[in-house]
Every structure is written in structure tokens, then in C-alpha cells.
């Protein structure tokens, strides 16, 4: 077994062990910490100057018959999936750490930790798969655990309804995606599910998909992946689900799992149906402006922190789409970097939000105020996280957004096109996110103390540890984006670049 296979299967085996009665929190913590360490080891061993798409490859053939594409349980990493793997393992450790202790959970702690591991493990499996089938299948592993987590452990009266909404929404989205993937595989000859082989087939003018056919397939993939990543107008499941999910689930889902849709677009849709992407580029531009501007304004209108964070996480997906739409090295690498940065920062915010909810019992802006005087450490951490999410320099989000904007403007020497106009409008999103983040900060932490409750004790070291882990990751990449860019760039150059920049 290769290290990568161990990374993929460790959370799933741990989940199984918890099902059979292993101590829940201990096992979950151990498994997620081990996967984090192992993925850091892989990041150190990763060679940035190697030819060939994937490293640490392993493959087990599952089905090899003439009438069906070869199916193999194969894993491998390139720069992009390595970054996503790091994101998943970091957030998973933090999510397990901020989870309530067994005794504090009213209902089955086993189920809680088991589901958490399945959600995280599914995301890891999807990001590490080099087989299209398992890329899809691993992502679906999170569907039912999310349903159970929101329905059982969620907050608020509407949680069962919300659990249904997210499950049906994502279920339908992945069915559409499935059809798109099946059509793509059939159009490429239907001989393999291996992503590298499929891309090679697609790039060969003789075996590639006819331009006419590409449009339809791209549209299906866009709707499918777009639903999973809450692209406007398929976004309405996201904010309520994140608001009502328990904090660790919101962290994993908003931080990691949602990125699967973007990852899939970059990994599958862009290289396999580039012409379809070009055809619908303007549609993508309009939709991403819907995310950035329309949903940005919706975010400003929120009166509750959890909803606001939910909508802000939807809004920021627009930037990632912008980077992908730019279609050059800088844009796509910015997009990947933003996936990482946003994943970490939103996980941090949701963790803090969960803590606030637990201590103050409310997240309404009107009922909170002046908290910074009561819990200064929390205020400081929240400030960092909010600045990061708003894209202030020094945090990874800033580096990523800059790359995206510059990437999108790259073609401007030949005149300002649609994408440049989109960028100019999208830049206003930065102002919008500054507005809502600072407003939230002001009304919760500044001003007179509104809460009638006694001041709760501030963050302890144990609670600060996962938050600091996230913050360190965010600032390290913020100051030295090259930490991750060194992995991302060769991946795009060697393999996934759809047109020269």
C-alpha cells in the first residue's frame, strides 16, 4: 500500500472502527492527525520539476472488460490535488478538534465522529483519485453523513427541512454531473476512466470530442459541478445548510467539500471540453457576477452571523470561477490558491461562529455587541479571520485574489474584452466583502456590550489550538504564496493549461 492509499483509507477505516465501538473522539483525532502528517510528508517529498502528470501513483484494476471502460481504484497527486489534499487534512484536524467532546453531545457521539470522518475522507478520496469514476464516487460518500449530521445535530427548528434541501439539491446536481461524465467518457471512446488518459484522448485532434458535442457536455458539467459549488443560480442550498449545520460540518463542507465542484471543473471540464467552455464562457461570466455582486449584496443584508458567513462563502466562489474563466496559468493558479485560502479562512470563521453560538446562544447582530471586551482573544482571532476573508494583504486570500485579477487582465493588451469588463465589475466585490465583514465585526465586537449574559471565559489553549493551526496556514501562504504556487504552477503548465496565456 502506498502512503497515498493509506491517507485515503485511514479516515474511512477509522470511521468503521468507531462504528464497531472504538473511542470516538480519540480515534477520529488520531486518524485525522495521522493523515495530516502523512500529507505533509508527501508535500515535502513532492518533486516540482518532474515530467508527467501525477506522482505517488498507485492503481488497482477493478474491472477490465471490453464492453465497459477500464475501472481502477487509482490514486495520484499533482500540484493541484496536493494543495487540495493539504486543505482537506488541515481542515479535518481542526474540525475534529473543535467538535464537542463525547459527553457534551446529547445523541450518539459515535455517529457524529463517524460522519465527520466520512465527510472528510470522501473529500480526500475525491481529490486524490486519478480515476474519473472514483473521483465522482468518493465525493458522494459525504452525501448521507451530511444529511444525518444536519438533521440530528443541526441547530434550529428547520434543520430537518434543511437536511432535505441540501441532500436533494446535491443529489440532483450529482445526477446531472453523472450524465455529463458518462457522455464525456462515451464521446472519448468509452475505453477508460483514467483521467490522464482521457485528457490525452481529448487533446488529440483525432480522438477529441467534436466541438458541436462539447457544448452540451460542458453545460451538463457546469450545472452539475456548479450545483455542488453553489454557483449562482444553483446556490440556494448553501447558506441555510451552513447556518444550520453543526460547526465542524460547516467547516468541512464549506471549506473542503464544496471545492470539489471547482476542482472537478479544473480537472475534468477544462481539459476535456475546452471548446464547450469557450462557447459558454460568457454565460460563466454572467453567472459568476451573480455570485460576486448579487450574492454579495445578499450577504450585506443578512442579520445573523451564520447566514452571513454562509452567503459570503457562496459569494467568494465567484472569484474562483473568474480565475478559471481567465484560462491562463496565473488565473488558474490563483483560483487553486483561492480554493485553499478560502477553505481555511471560512473554516476558521465557522469555528469561531460555532463557539459564539455556544457561549452566547445567539448569532444575531442586534443581540450581540462589545464582545471584544469580554473575550479579547476571540475578538483578535475573529478580526484576523474576517480580514483574511475580506482579502487584506498578508493573508493567502489576498495573494490568490491578486493572481486572479491579474490573470484575468492578461489579455488586455489586445483590447478590453468581456472578461476584463467582468473583472472590473468583480473588483467591486472586494469592497462588498469589506463592508459586510467589517460591519459584522463592528456590531459583534465593538460598541456597548449588548448581551445580558455574564461574560463567558475566553478561549482556552485547547480551543485555540485548531484555530491557530488554521491561522498559521493562512498567514504562511499569505506571506509566501510560493509555498503552494510551486506545486500548482507545474501542474497547470504541464497538463491542464487550456490556452497559452
Amino acid at each position: 500500500m502506498s502512503i497515498l492509499e493509506i491517507i485515503v483509507f485511514l479516515p474511512l477505516v477509522a470511521a468503521l472502527a468507531i462504528g464497531f465501538g472504538a473511542p470516538a473522539r480519540f480515534t477520529a483525532l488520531g486518524a485525522s492527525a495521522l493523515t495530516l502528517i502523512a500529507s505533509l510528508v508527501l508535500a515535502i517529498q513532492f518533486k516540482t520539476n518532474v515530467e508527467g502528470p501525477f506522482q505517488f501513483e498507485s492503481s488497482r484494476t477493478m474491472l477490465d472488460i471490453a464492453e465497459f471502460p477500464t475501472l481502477s481504484l487509482s490514486f495520484g497527486l499533482d500540484g493541484i490535488s496536493l494543495v487540495m489534499l493539504l486543505l482537506s487534512t488541515i481542515v479535518m484536524v481542526a474540525a475534529v478538534l473543535v467538535s464537542p467532546k463525547e459527553a457534551e453531545l446529547k445523541r450518539s457521539p459515535q455517529l457524529f465522529y463517524l460522519s465527520l470522518l466520512l465527510i472528510g475522507g470522501g473529500a480526500i478520496g475525491a481529490f486524490c483519485s486519478t480515476d474519473l469514476f472514483f473521483l465522482y464516487a468518493f465525493h458522494e460518500l459525504a452525501l448521507i453523513p451530511t444529511f444525518l449530521m444536519i438533521g440530528i445535530f443541526g441547530r434550529g427548528e428547520n434543520r430537518v427541512r434543511t437536511a432535505w434541501t441540501i441532500t436533494i439539491y446535491l443529489g440532483v446536481g450529482s445526477l446531472v454531473l453523472l450524465v455529463g461524465l458518462i457522455l464525456a467518457v462515451i464521446a472519448l471512446g468509452g475505453t477508460t476512466f483514467n483521467i490522464a488518459d482521457l485528457v490525452a484522448l481529448a487533446k488529440n485532434p483525432e480522438t477529441g470530442i467534436a466541438a458541436k458535442q462539447q457544448g452540451g457536455i460542458f453545460l451538463l458539467l457546469l450545472i452539475g459541478f456548479g450545483t455542488l459549488v453553489s454557483l449562482f443560480p444553483f446556490h440556494s442550498w448553501a447558506a441555510p445548510a451552513y447556518a444550520e449545520a453543526p460547526a465542524p460540518v460547516a467547516m468541512l463542507h464549506a471549506g473542503v467539500l464544496k471545492k470539489f465542484g471547482l476542482y472537478g471543473l479544473i480537472r475534468v471540464a477544462l481539459p476535456i471540453v475546452p471548446a464547450g467552455f469557450e462557447t459558454y464562457l460568457n454565460l460563466v461570466l454572467v453567472l459568476l457576477l451573480g455570485n460576486i455582486i448579487y450574492l454579495g449584496l445578499v450577504t450585506i443584508a443578512q442579520k445573523q452571523l451564520d447566514r452571513m458567513l454562509g452567503y459570503s462563502s457562496v459569494m467568494h466562489m465567484g472569484y474562483v470561477f473568474l480565475g478559471i474563466a481567465a484560462g491562463n496559468e496565473l488565473g488558474i493558479s490563483g483560483a487553486v490558491l483561492l480554493m485553499f485560502a478560502h477553505g481555511i479562512s471560512i473554516a476558521l470563521l465557522f469555528a469561531l461562529c460555532g463557539w459564539l453560538q455556544e457561549k452566547y446562544g445567539t448569532l444575531e447582530f442586534e443581540k450581540l455587541g462589545g464582545i471584544a471586551k469580554q473575550v479579547p482573544r476571540l475578538g483578535l482571532l475573529f478580526g484576523f479571520a474576517a480580514f483574511a476573508a475580506a482579502g487584506l494583504p498578508g493573508f493567502a486570500n489576498f495573494a490568490a485574489e491578486i493572481e486572479i485579477f491579474i490573470g484575468a487582465f492578461k489579455g488586455a493588451e489586445n483590447g478590453i474584452g468581456w472578461i476584463q469588463w467582468t473583472t472590473i465589475i468583480a473588483l467591486w466585490g472586494v469592497v462588498i466583502s469589506g463592508v459586510y465583514m467589517l460591519r459584522a465585526y463592528r456590531s459583534i465586537f465593538m460598541g456597548p456590550i449588548a448581551s445580558k449574559l455574564e461574560a463567558p471565559s475566553d478561549l482556552t489553549w485547547a480551543t485555540r489550538l485548531p484555530l491557530l493551526l488554521l491561522l498559521v496556514a493562512l498567514m504562511a501562504v499569505g506571506f509566501i504564496p510560493e509555498l503552494l504556487n510551486q506545486f500548482i504552477r507545474p501542474a497547470i503548465n504541464g497538463f491542464f493549461l487550456i490556452k497559452a496565456g
Binding site: L63, F68, I144, I168, G171, L175, L178, V179, I182
Partner: protein, 492 residues
């Protein structure tokens, strides 16, 4: 060992069980079921030992196909289903005893239980024969062997009105469909002059065939076969009969009878699909039936509040996916590139067996403690018996077609077939059906996980045999979900 020995062994086993019931003085008649269970495990093992006959000359082989791989696969399905049905039947026996109670003084307290275990054996022999039937006569006789056994089994709980009602409905509608079948066979014989399926195929492929008459024969046969497998609009008996029949028999109907129905469906439709003058019309009719079945099954399942009824509609829905595969048969030119509908349907039924029987096993076990099969009966099951809740959740996930379970590959193959044939209408309807499935299969999870039980109910006891069967089925569902080759390897 020649393949037809297997049917003989099963019949002898059934007779043996009847003899033991009649002559041995047993305190607990559930041991009769154990004879059947052990016997069927042996038969299942022997399935892998059969050798094809040296010569297929002679009258016998005109009624019985010479052990092709597909037939063997469906025999395996029949044996495995009966095996698990017998396990369920022993769990269910207290209810059978209560509802067949004999007021006669001096009667054995379990009088009437023995036949409840023996009859499925005869049905099993019939199902196995159906898998090998290659002649209109043998198809008809084997089908009736099974159906008549089912008439008895469905109405077995004679003190229960629901069971009797189900029996009457099944009898009347079943007889009607048999009429259609025989009439269709008569027309088919009239057109082609043969009872032999291979000769019928040759005759139908002749371009000078009277297409109107042949199509009429097809329509009559289709009505009968669609009735057997639960294809709309001939599915109306299914919810009532499934709900009224004793639960193990419902499972038997839903898996064994449906699988055997489909092998007959495949055998009978194949000559029509291979016939150039007829294939267009036949495919259109099949598509219409598939669309109706998918919509009826999936949409009607959504509001159901009784778990058994829900599974009844789910069984209709799955029939829809299977007919969808049949309606997407590739042309002869494309053969070899895509999977044949026979392979897809066989795989689907193999996966369907695993997940449906698992659901019924849990249902029977819960029924032992909680009256009725209402969804409310499953409230708080996750807390009461986490093991049962987990296995039922796996089974529902697989029925809904969530990846990494066997059920997903079934749907995946069907969708792929439809996409290859560019059968877009069917594909869209199939997607709507699958999406609806997410809802109604997860509804049970809401009862089990989100709601708490009324009182401090104790864990539901699970017998060791049942527990082993549940664990085996759960592992099989996930293993096939990761490696579909486990089932595909058994197919030609």
C-alpha cells in the same frame, strides 16, 4: 454434474421437508427451515460445479437450455433468494403461527408452519427451471409452477384479512395475465409454427413475416410479462399484494419472482428485438412502458407512509430501470462495444437481490417486536438497535443508487446504455426517477435517526443466522459497489 440435477435436488429437499413435517415429532418446527437452509447452501455451492452436457440432442434439451451462464446466474439468484426467505420465514414464524391458529383441540401448537417452509422450495425449483426454459411450453409450465405456489403463500395467513385480500387479488389478476400469456403464445405459434425460442427467432427475422400479427402476439405477451415484473400500467396489484402478503413472501415475490420474470421477459423479447421488421415498434412500446413504470413507481413511492408499500413501489421503480435497459438495446452493429441489456439486467438484479433482501431482513426482524410496518415503527431505531439502523441505511443508500454501493452500478450501467443509444427521453425520465429515489429511500432514515422512540424501548433481538445474513449482504453491497467485477465475473 448436469445442471438439471439441481432442480431435482431442490424438489427432493422440499418433499423431504414435508415428510419431516408430517412424520417426525418436532417440538419446534423451525428446524424444518434449517433443513432447507442447509440444503440450499449446498445447492448454491453445487451451482459452481455443474458441467455442460456432452450432447444436446434429444427431446429434453428442447425444453431446457443446456446450462448457459445467464441461466446459471438466475438459478443462483433463485437459490440465494429462497435461502434468505427461509431465514426470514423462521424469524417470522411466531406471526405465522398466530395468524394460522387452529382451534382444533390437540393440534400441534405450530400446526401449519411446516408448509410455510416447504412451499418456497417448490417455488425455488420453479424459478430455477424458468431460468433454463427455452420453449414456450416449458416457460409456461415453469411460470405456472411458481405462480401457483405464490397464490398459496400470499394468502397463507388465513386469519388475516389483509393476507386473504392480497391472495384473492393476486389470484384473479394472475389468472388474467396467464390468459394473456397463453393467447400470445398461441398467436406466436400460429405465426412462426414453432414453440422453440430459437426457431421462433429465425421465423421472426424473416422479412416476409406478417408484422401485424407478430406485433399483436408481442403485445399480448408483453401484458402478461409486464404483469409479472411489475411494469406499468400492469403494476396495480403490486402495492396491495406486497402489503398483505407475509413479509418473507413479499421479499420472495419482490426478488425471486421479479428476477425470474425478467429472464423470461428477456428470452421472449429477444426474438422480437432481433427481428428487423419489428424492432422499431417493439423498442417504442418498451420505451413507453419504461417511462410509465419509472414515473408511476418513483412518484407513487414518494408519499407512502407504510414501509412495505414503499418498497412495493420501489420494486415497480426498479422494474422501470430494468425495462429502460431493455428498451435501450444496442443495434447488432454496436454489439461488443457496449454491454448487452442481458448483462446489465442480470447485474442489476444481482445487486437488487442484495439490497432488497437486506431491507426485508431488517423489516422482518423489526416486525417481531413492533406491530405493523408503518414508517413510525422505525422511529428511534438508530438508538434502539444501531446495527439494524446501519444495515437498513446501507440498503436504502444502495436502493437509492448512491455511489460505492452495488445499486449505483446497476443504475450507472443502465444510464450508460441509454446514453449510448442516445435515448434522451428515457434518460431524462430515469434521472427524475433516480432523484425521486433519494427522497423516498432517505425518508426511512429520518424515522430511524432524527426521531426518538416513544418509550425506552429495548434493543431488538437479532438471531445469529439472521445477523450473519445481514452482515454478509451488507459487505456484499459495499464490495460490489467498489468492484462490480464480483458480479459481472459470474456473467458470460
Amino acid at each position: 454434474m448436469p445442471v438439471y440435477y439441481l432442480e431435482i435436488i431442490v424438489v427432493v429437499l422440499g418433499l423431504l421437508m414435508l415428510m419431516v413435517d408430517a412424520f417426525a415429532k418436532l417440538d419446534d418446527k423451525r428446524s424444518i427451515a434449517s433443513i432447507g437452509i442447509i440444503g440450499l447452501i449446498v445447492v448454491f455451492g453445487l451451482l459452481f460445479k455443474v458441467v455442460p452436457p456432452e450432447s444436446t440432442e434429444g427431446v429434453f434439451w428442447q425444453f431446457y437450455s443446456a446450462g448457459d451462464q445467464t441461466a446459471l446466474f438466475f438459478k443462483g439468484i433463485a437459490v440465494l433468494t429462497t435461502l434468505i426467505v427461509l431465514i426470514m420465514a423462521s424469524d417470522f414464524s411466531p406471526i405465522v403461527v398466530r395468524q394460522t391458529a387452529d382451534p382444533e383441540p390437540g393440534a400441534h401448537p405450530q400446526a401449519g408452519l411446516g408448509e410455510f417452509f416447504a412451499l418456497p422450495m417448490f417455488a425455488c425449483a420453479g424459478l430455477m427451471w424458468m431460468a433454463s426454459a427455452n420453449n414456450l411450453v416449458s416457460i409456461f409450465v415453469s411460470l405456472e409452477t411458481v405462480t401457483i405456489t405464490f397464490y398459496i403463500l400470499v394468502a397463507y395467513l388465513r386469519r388475516n384479512v389483509g393476507s386473504l385480500e392480497a391472495g384473492v387479488k393476486y389470484l384473479i389478476l394472475g389468472a388474467l395475465s396467464t390468459g394473456f400469456l397463453v393467447y400470445g403464445f398461441a398467436w406466436l405459434f400460429g405465426i412462426t409454427g414453432s414453440m422453440q425460442l430459437s426457431e421462433i427467432a429465425t421465423a421472426l427475422a424473416d422479412p416476409s413475416i406478417n408484422t401485424t400479427a407478430a406485433f399483436f402476439a408481442f403485445a399480448l405477451i408483453l401484458v402478461a410479462v409486464a404483469f409479472k415484473v411489475g411494469g406499468a400500467p400492469f403494476h396495480f396489484w403490486i402495492p396491495d399484494v406486497y402489503q398483505g402478503a407475509p413479509t418473507p413472501i413479499t421479499a420472495f415475490l419482490s426478488v425471486g419472482s421479479k428476477a425470474a420474470g425478467f429472464i423470461v421477459f428477456l428470452r421472449l423479447v429477444d426474438p422480437f428485438l432481433a427481428s428487423a421488421p419489428l424492432v422499431g415498434k417493439v423498442t417504442t412500446v418498451l420505451s413507453v412502458i419504461a417511462i410509465l413504470t419509472l414515473l408511476m413507481g418513483n412518484l407513487a413511492a414518494m408519499p407512502q407512509k407504510n414501509f412495505k408499500r414503499l418498497l412495493a413501489y420501489s420494486s415497480v421503480a426498479h422494474a422501470g430501470f430494468l425495462i429502460m435497459a431493455l428498451a435501450s438495446s444496442p443495434d447488432a452493429s454496436a454489439a461488443g462495444q457496449s454491454m448487452s441489456p442481458t448483462t446489465v439486467i442480470s447485474f442489476y438484479l444481482g445487486a437488487y437481490l442484495l439490497m432488497t433482501l437486506l431491507a426485508f431482513l431488517v423489516m422482518t426482524t423489526v416486525r417481531g417486536q413492533v406491530a405493523g410496518e408503518d414508517l413510525n415503527a422505525y422511529k428511534g431505531l438508530a438508538k434502539r438497535s444501531p446495527f439494524l439502523a446501519f444495515t437498513l441505511l446501507i440498503s436504502m443508500a444502495s436502493l437509492a443508487g448512491i455511489p460505492l454501493t452495488a445499486g449505483f452500478f446497476g443504475k450507472f450501467f443502465v444510464f450508460k446504455l441509454a446514453a449510448e443509444q442516445q435515448n434522451w427521453t428515457l434518460l431524462v425520465v430515469g434521472l427524475i426517477g433516480a432523484a425521486a429515489g433519494f427522497y423516498y429511500y432517505l425518508k426511512i432514515a429520518v424515522s430511524m435517526f432524527f426521531e426518538s422512540s416513544d418509550d425506552d424501548a429495548l434493543a431488538i433481538p437479532v438471531r445469529t443466522t439472521t445477523r450473519i445474513a445481514m452482515i454478509a449482504l451488507t459487505i456484499a453491497i459495499i464490495a460490489v459497489g467498489i468492484n462490480p467485477g464480483l458480479i459481472l465475473g459470474l456473467l458470460p
